[in-house]
Symmetry: C3
Subunit: 178 residues, 3 copies
Amino acid sequence: MSKSILITGGARSGKSVIAERITERLAAEIQLPPVYIATAQAFDAEMEDRIALHQERRGPEWRTVAEPLNVGQALRDTDGQGPRLLDCLTLWVSNMMHHEREIEAEARALAQAITTQTAPVVLVTNEVGGGIVPENALARRFRDEAGRVNQIIAQACEELYLAVAGYPLKVKPNDIEI
Amino acid sequence: MSKSILITGGARSGKSVIAERITERLAAEIQLPPVYIATAQAFDAEMEDRIALHQERRGPEWRTVAEPLNVGQALRDTDGQGPRLLDCLTLWVSNMMHHEREIEAEARALAQAITTQTAPVVLVTNEVGGGIVPENALARRFRDEAGRVNQIIAQACEELYLAVAGYPLKVKPNDIEI
Amino acid sequence: MSKSILITGGARSGKSVIAERITERLAAEIQLPPVYIATAQAFDAEMEDRIALHQERRGPEWRTVAEPLNVGQALRDTDGQGPRLLDCLTLWVSNMMHHEREIEAEARALAQAITTQTAPVVLVTNEVGGGIVPENALARRFRDEAGRVNQIIAQACEELYLAVAGYPLKVKPNDIEI
């Protein structure tokens, strides 16, 4: 298994569970505990419930680091500790929009950080561009930014999977020459 | 070909036509007529038109059973009659939400029914989580429930396909170890 | 590489870049410059920016033809000039709805035009059916029309790819018998 893996998929497609299993397997291989880098921030009860549910599912062997914005730094800080699971890029994009960060530049910096890690990195992101064009201009901008970030990070990763109903479909590497 | 097959895909991705062809082939193999288990209920003219169009396309060799809620029972009742096509899980989830059923428990019961059938079962469902987060709380809940049901049923099925522009992409089984 | 290729994918999935690279490769193979058939019309500043950005990216070797509606004719008119990239079918559907054209008949005519070309044709379209059902009836109709057009054109093409985070996933041809 390679060292940098991006898992994308729609809402409730099972991408986090797939990413957790991959990270736990990488942890067993290198005999270091898995580290969870959470970009989620609990602004409301719905989000609080979701965060608690995810933590419970992961189990006590995981260490959790909360980092809504500076995820490249979080990767560098945790490089010696074990395989990292960064969940998820879409909330990171949302956080960056809220804080008016330069999203493309930040994504390129994260891509650079990914390619210079010693311990494995698994990242989760969302497919958000598969519906009709949103009427809301902010939603359209979010959709554009999230899609561009997905492309930048996918290019930096050795493997890319699309989650469908709990199962991964390999997108990269493949044998398609274009 | 295996005995339990889930076809997922976006709206108008050709998933029903793919599922019908698979079911007709299974019917020819076991020399029993195909059975259509419809979860759709015609609440309005748009839905009535769609149901009539689907029936016309399937042709006279099909038997049709309407069952908006108790689909596991419908499978058991029709097990000796031929291969069943259950279309679709997403409307079933919608019907269960309307009738305040325990959706996860019902999905697990359906998964159990699928694994204990003698005749083949083909199921159709929808990808509904590929757009931006819906503003409407009910739509968000529906999206979550539908995605979770897809995962539970996909796990129970021997094969899983994603329909894209009328063509199936195999998701399960595959040779990815995670 | 085959002569007719459809690339589908969500918004910002990298489908246009993939299609441009394929078309440039086909152009190099047959030693004729690539031709871009644009269905986009700049009704507002957001669309103008996007069109300008795409043109800049493609570079000066490309010839551009703007054709919002009669795309089959545009293919016939440019058949001797080089490989064509038609970008995109979804805007074409939108234009046809605006001008009250017979969409299915037009799609079948385009499919026919595709299969009778001498020079290669690459087409880009969008996945728009992966979210929840739109509340707006016009959006629902658009989603249905776009999905049906995708199926008709996919059937006419020798190859079909789904773009995910900048990478193509082959959907057709595949070895799935249904």
